[in-house]
Symmetry: C5
Subunit: 99 residues, 5 copies
């Protein structure tokens, strides 16, 4: 899994029928310092993530292992909202300290 | 999923028999500003996308989770046509404003 | 899928038994201008491709969705021979014009 | 599989229900000299790895081939703790010599 | 599939139980000139490869399509030992000519 920050939304009315009802969010990928890497991913939201939140996302076939995404043509899913990320003994991100 | 713009077509008469009837489109990959990244992908079209349209495509085994591509040797599929892409509160792409 | 040009062959007598009979070809990856990207892939040949031909290849689990490669430890397959590639209204490759 | 060093932990209370009970660790990726490559991965821990340990991790669908991760939206798993890594006849890492 | 040269071994006593008995080898990735690319991979050995040999390896779910690796958390497997690699009409590697 990799870290991302939810930065946007995507609306698509013409799509594969099985995708109906899935919410797609735009993620900027983050490194473990919480800095943007320049990469992005559009992912289905399985956990009700909101704009600005730091999340964990899975790609590939893992993205279809949720009730929402099972057997759908989806290769990225947000599967957790990060509360605390600690690296080398330092708290790099703490959701409770965000504005 | 990643964003792409449909820029071309590919004709192949000699191919794996199960691919008969699939339409292959050439996509230039886009970043979330809508700019080309330099990458491309040839993908099966599951939604009737047209030249110039901005689409969402999935890769890997996800690409076989549509009726058209099920159990076929296909690792990329266009599964949605983007109407609106909004990032950091700014509309980066709006299909209704395209010529 | 990505584009490649068949540039070589690979002989391997000691291999996983289920690979017996599969033909492996060496591909140089191409961009959509038909130029080599510097990357390569060794792929199983499902369509009888010949040296010099421009082909479409699939990777990952898609590579096992042909009769030849089903349930074999193979992660790349040539699934189509390209006749015509057209990008931005320009024919970038036309097999009938090759020597 | 690739090599990583366990450098951190991640707490997430809001997550896909099937992930309940899985422990997520933050890995810095290593090259075969044991140096950090700059990449990272968040992975489920299937072997009880501790901070500072050098581990082997698998990504993609392989990450769901453990009892802990079966059918869960998880694309990275620590599946072994490295004791000794020997490359070109030289021991690059020996767990018993670590502090 | 990609080319690699077997350069080392990895010992891991604490591991996912289903991995018991699998031999892990360290590969340096090669380009089609036989030169090292700087990348590496740790792979399960399905063919009895030896140190110094040039091999073909598969990654992703393909790595579990051998008897040894079936349903195990393994994302890389050596599935063939290369005898001869010929590119653009030139023999780039011939196992019989190696010391």
């Amino acid at each position: 899994m990799l870290l991302g920050r939810v930065v946007g939304t995507l609306v698509a009315t013409r799509k594969e029928p099985s995708l109906e009802g899935l919410k797609f969010l735009v993620l900027k990928q983050l490194d473990i310092e919480g800095k943007e890497t320049g990469g992005y991913r559009v992912a289905a939201d399985a956990v009700g993530a909101g704009l600005g939140e730091v999340v964990l996302f899975a790609t590939g076939s893992a993205a279809r292992q949720t009730k929402l995404t099972h057997q759908r043509p989806c290769d990225g899913v947000i599967m957790a909202i990060v509360d605390v990320l600690e690296v080398d003994g330092v708290v790099k991100y703490d959701k409770s300290e965000e504005g």
